[in-house]
């Protein structure tokens, strides 16, 4: 609201500050108590320890779950990003009817709760014969990563002037050359951002993976299995702190990439 509001009170900034504080406060407790020398996550703090992190490093099950999560996130993000790039390109440039349908369907999982994506994938992989396993989680994660990946890459491609592709094509570039030499170089940072965000989504994902995990748990599934045991909560908090640190770093990276793609 133009001028009158500009000199409005400090109420709004204060509200935004409180909102952000509220957003971070509960999550900030996890790293705080991961250094606390007590099984209980309670005040007053009992002194600083790195003991929980030491136990963390000495637990082979956690290393196994970490490697499993990394592999799944890598593969799922790669498939989701490649597919999303193809879908976004076809939807923006040649734009046949089928591509529009595909692009719409690719964003459908955002309207389906995770639990249903999970059981739908579970039925699918059982029908396919391999059942709950690493590839099953990859399939489930591709589905939930796809909407955001398509949205990010499509937004970038839509911002590229159509004349760019037309000029390249008029100058004799084949469809493949247009994509590879004209469009992809302009969209690479959005593609990188989509990959990073897909990787993060998969790495942190629990709701879908819960139904699809075979004998090897992912990190979130390992955490879930430990939540029942009060004794292992401090180690879970140490593990959670490291996961939060990783997520925040990667999200910042994706944001930096996304900003670059705007120039």
């Amino acid at each position: 609201m133009g001028q009158p509001d500009m000199k409005a009170s400090h109420l709004l900034p204060a509200y935004v500050g409180t909102y952000i504080l509220f957003l971070y406060l509960p999550v900030a407790l996890i790293p705080l108590f991961s250094f606390n020398d007590s099984i209980q996550a309670a005040f007053p703090l009992q002194g600083v320890t790195l003991g929980w992190y030491r136990i963390l490093l000495d637990t082979p099950a956690i290393r196994g779950a970490l490697i499993n999560s990394l592999i799944i996130a890598m593969v799922a993000a790669a498939i989701a990003t490649l597919t999303a790039t193809a879908i976004a390109y076809l939807d923006v440039f040649p734009r046949p009817v089928l591509s529009r349908l595909v692009a719409g369907l690719a964003r459908l999982p955002i309207l389906i709760p995770g639990v249903i994506v999970g059981i739908a994938t579970l039925i699918l992989v059982n029908l396919a014969g391999f059942g709950p396993s690493r590839p099953a989680i990859v399939i489930g994660h591709v589905l939930i990563c796809l909407p955001a990946a398509v949205t990010v890459i499509r937004a970038r491609m839509a911002a590229i002037p159509r004349s760019m592709a037309e000029v390249a094509s008029d100058l004799g570039a084949s469809d493949w050359q247009v994509l590879r030499r004209a469009i992809l170089p302009l969209a690479w940072s959005a593609i990188g951002s989509a990959f990073t965000l897909s990787f993060l989504t998969s790495f942190d994902e629990f709701i879908v993976a819960y139904f699809l995990a075979g004998t090897d748990p992912t990190l979130p599934i390992y955490i879930w299995s430990q939540l029942r045991f009060p004794k292992s909560l401090p180690v879970v908090m140490a593990l959670g702190s490291l996961i939060l640190l990783t997520s925040v770093t990667l999200a910042a990276l994706a944001e930096a990439l996304r900003r670059r793609s705007k120039i």
């Binding site: 609201m1 133009g2 001028q3 009158p4 509001d5 709004l12 900034p13 509200y15 935004v16 957003l23 509960p26 999550v27 996890i30 108590f33 996550a41 309670a42 005040f43 498939i79 490649l82 597919t83 193809a86 076809l90 046949p96 089928l98 591509s99 349908l101 595909v102 692009a103 369907l105 459908l108 999982p109 955002i110 309207l111 389906i112 709760p113 995770g114 639990v115 249903i116 059981i119 739908a120 994938t121 039925i123 059982n126 029908l127 399939i139 589905l143 469809d175 493949w176 942190d204 629990f206 139904f211 979130p220 955490i223 879970v236 908090m237 959670g240 996961i243 925040v248 994706a254 900003r259």
Partner: protein, 289 residues
Amino acid sequence: MERRPALADGPGFRVALSVPGVAVTFGLVLFALLLVVGLAFRTNDGGLLAGPLTLANLVAIFTDRLYAIIMLRSLWIAGLVTLATVVTAYPVAWYLAFHAGHRRGLILFLVTLPFWTSYLLRVFAWKIVLAYNGVLNSAMMSLGLWETPSTALLNNPAAVVVTLAHAYAPFAILPIFVSLQTIPRSLLEVSSDLGASRAQVFRRVVLPLSMPGVLGGALVVFVPTLGDYVTPSLVGGPGSIMIGNQIQAQFGKANDWPFGAALAVATMLVILIAVALVRQADRRWGSRT
């Protein structure tokens, strides 16, 4: 798949490029959803495809009071969470769109960052906050404000609402911010020049124009919260069982996949109705430009 005559490389290129998208969307998204719908009409005999069809699952869901109660509770909780999220997010989106200035990028990053951190950990954080021997109780007692720890914090629907509203808070900000940002400033100036008070400008101009963002944000929060099972089982206690918990149980302990699939179909129907209502609302109050 691609019938339009292509220019340079012939249709081969586009067909090849269509393969991953078509495979994933038709082969995975659509096919998996059809499998769920198909399974909902099966008896629980261990088979997935072949076999006799039955309406018993869906009839049970729509006649048994238990499921009506659970579905209504899920709707109630998801509705409250959506309302709380949208109402608290609106001023933040407002600030971002009109007042943030050079701090916009930073604040936008700060409010969307939690979106990319582990959902499980965000819920777990609330469990340690609200637990009997947890953070809030111990903090209040160390400060001398409470004599004894309270058991009323955890294991009730209110804990579920607070936790979910916090976990999904950032989801609503972005769509509302985008819709506020596209409002031409001149419209606001004109309305106030013509004598509208600030409240009138908000109610008659800004709110209707930002409605698509509000409704979009509401949907993005409503859908995942309606089907959530993690928060009810971590902080909700027995009185907060939601439809997601029921679906999860049928594919786990109860081991009745067809019935679980039928519950999933019922949930998707409810979401479909919600989407239709949102579209209707959008047409009515939203895009009146």
